[in-house]
């Protein structure tokens, strides 16, 4: 019961936009780890070959990690625009990389990944436009501080 209260309080604190950013941030960290610690056979796969052609894999991993960190930080503050911009850019960039792999013939199944990444990026674009639910904006919560 107490745990439920804490979860509810955190939910009110971060709101739905914040929860979305926490989720996207977690995905970003998972992706960063998967790229950074990819085993050699994985690095030789078509998708990774395309990625490493465009930029070093460590750079992709670092970009995802930065995106995740910004998402997690801005989930708890009033202004979350940088997190949304960064996360959207990363998902689109990843999707476009997959498209390039498909059209260049390096990754014949690239269209699947491209569809998923770009659609998710578009979904993030949509979430960025949504204002917080009025129910989750009681007077004097995280938005009480005026800047």
């Amino acid at each position: 019961m107490k745990t439920l209260g804490i979860v509810r309080r955190v939910g009110v604190l971060i709101g739905r936009r914040g929860a979305s950013l926490l989720f996207v941030g977690m995905l970003s960290f998972v992706l960063a780890a998967s790229i950074a610690f990819a085993p050699a056979p994985q690095r030789a796969s078509p998708a990774y070959l395309v990625l490493s052609d465009l930029a070093p894999l460590w750079a992709w991993a670092a970009a995802w990690a930065v995106s995740g960190a910004v998402c997690w930080v801005q989930a708890f503050v009033r202004q979350d625009r940088i997190a949304f911009a960064l996360a959207t850019a990363m998902w689109w960039a990843y999707g476009l990389a997959a498209i390039v792999g498909y059209f260049t013939g390096v990754n014949p199944r690239g269209w699947v990944a491209a569809g998923i990444w770009i659609l998710f990026g578009g979904w993030l674009n949509l979430i960025a436009t949504w204002p917080e639910s009025a129910d989750l904006l009681p007077e004097g919560r995280r938005h009480a501080r005026r800047d």
Binding site: R81, A89, W92
Partner: protein, 110 residues
């Protein structure tokens, strides 16, 4: 030629995410502004509700005090009437001013 194509691809991969990031940035800014406006409205509403509560509580206290004062006035009037009657019975004529006050009070009530 392949070098130019590669360059174009790389520019596109850089430019498109930047474009959508800018869109997301603007959308999020707008959404944040709307959040702020909604929050302001909620703060105003809460302040209004609190003020109304205080006002209504004050009014009900005043009404109770008024009722109590009215009861006291009634009992005092009864006491005056009783004392007048006792004075008359005792053969002492009451002060005519008290009669005037009583008549005035009765007129006001009617």
């Amino acid at each position: 030629m392949p070098a130019v194509t590669d360059l174009l691809i790389q520019v596109a991969i850089g430019a498109v995410p930047l474009g959508v990031a800018y869109l997301a940035y603007r959308s999020a800014t707008e959404a944040n502004k709307r959040n702020l406006a909604m929050e302001g409205q909620k703060v105003d509403q809460a302040a209004y509700d609190r003020a109304q509560g205080i006002y209504e509580k004050g009014m009900s206290q005043l009404e109770k005090q008024l009722e109590r004062a009215q009861d006291q006035i009634d009992s005092l009037e009864e006491a005056v009437l009783m004392l007048r009657a006792q004075l008359i019975q005792a053969g002492i004529p009451p002060d005519p001013r008290t009669l005037t006050v009583q008549i005035t009070t009765r007129r006001d009530e009617s």
